[in-house]
């Protein structure tokens, strides 16, 4: 498991452990990854994050079209061997998205239950956002590298 900020490790670890998730991804609603479990290739994470954020944005718009005030909350894709749980949740850092892939040793209900606990725990432990800083070109690449190292390890 890799997280961008240490405080996320405990709630994400509990979600993965208790729901028997195969893969998990936590990202901002714009698709920036803040934590992951089970992915081994950065390319897969980036693709999954972009697709997940896109699916949630699409269903949110669909909800608006059919007259719902809020979005659908969660989207579940269920296959023969594995399922995908995708849901947004509010944090002090804004709206985040969790994507959980689970196999036949887990259930939608179990993932739903531990996702709710995860979201509550994140709200509890997430520090308030840092004031906006100016992003400078010379620092951008260094910060991006640091984020990728935190999420995937390596030098």
């Amino acid at each position: 498991m890799r997280v961008l900020e240490p405080w996320l490790a405990e709630p994400l670890g509990e979600l993965v452990r208790e729901s028997s998730a195969r893969l998990a991804l936590v990202m901002t609603s714009s698709g920036q990854v803040v934590g992951q479990h089970g992915f081994t290739r950065s390319l897969d994470v980036m693709a999954a994050a972009a697709l997940g954020a896109g699916i949630l944005a699409t269903t949110g718009e669909l909800a608006r079209l059919v007259g719902s005030d809020a979005d659908f909350g969660a989207v579940v894709h269920q296959g023969a061997q594995q399922g995908v749980w995708l849901a947004g949740f509010d944090t002090p850092r804004g709206r985040w998205v969790a994507l959980v892939v689970f196999g036949r040793n887990s259930t939608v209900g179990l993932v739903r239950m531990f996702f709710q606990r995860f979201a509550a725990r994140v709200r509890e432990v997430a520090p308030m956002p840092m004031p906006d800083r100016e992003v400078l070109a010379e620092g951008f690449e260094r910060e991006l590298d640091a984020s990728l190292r935190a999420l995937f390890g390596g030098g």
């Binding site: 259930t107 939608v108 209900g109 179990l110 739903r112």
Partner: protein, 117 residues
């Protein structure tokens, strides 16, 4: 089965003294299909966890060469959870106080669960 009939069935279970809630659960995905419960009982959580217990019990039964699981009873200090197998992967789950009339409840669940589906 229609929701009204399910509701009547669940109300038969909750009419027994000490029963805090009755839930129709899908074992495959651990979700609540129908429920009748007292306020404060987290039926979604009960359904999710009951489905895990049922699936584990089924795995044990298979591994030990037994036939299918019909009834699972989980006794704890502050309450009991009983799950009875219905049709089409549905389970009838009751959550009770520890001093419930367990014999009567087990018989009732065994009779009613096959009516699910």
């Amino acid at each position: 089965m229609n929701p009204e009939r399910w509701q009547r069935l669940l109300e038969d279970v909750t009419a027994i003294d000490g029963v805090r809630g009755a839930i129709v659960v899908t074992a495959e995905d651990g979700l609540v299909v129908h429920e009748a419960a007292v306020e404060g009982l987290e039926t979604g959580d009960v359904a999710a966890l009951a489905s895990v217990v049922v699936r584990r019990a089924e795995a044990i039964a298979t591994a030990s060469g037994d036939s299918e699981v019909r009834l699972c009873t989980l006794s704890a200090e502050k309450g009991i959870v009983i799950a009875a197998q219905g049709e089409h992967g549905l389970w009838l789950v009751a959550v009770t106080e520890p001093d419930v009339e367990l014999g009567r409840l087990r018989l009732m669940l065994g009779d009613l669960a096959p009516e699910l589906g």
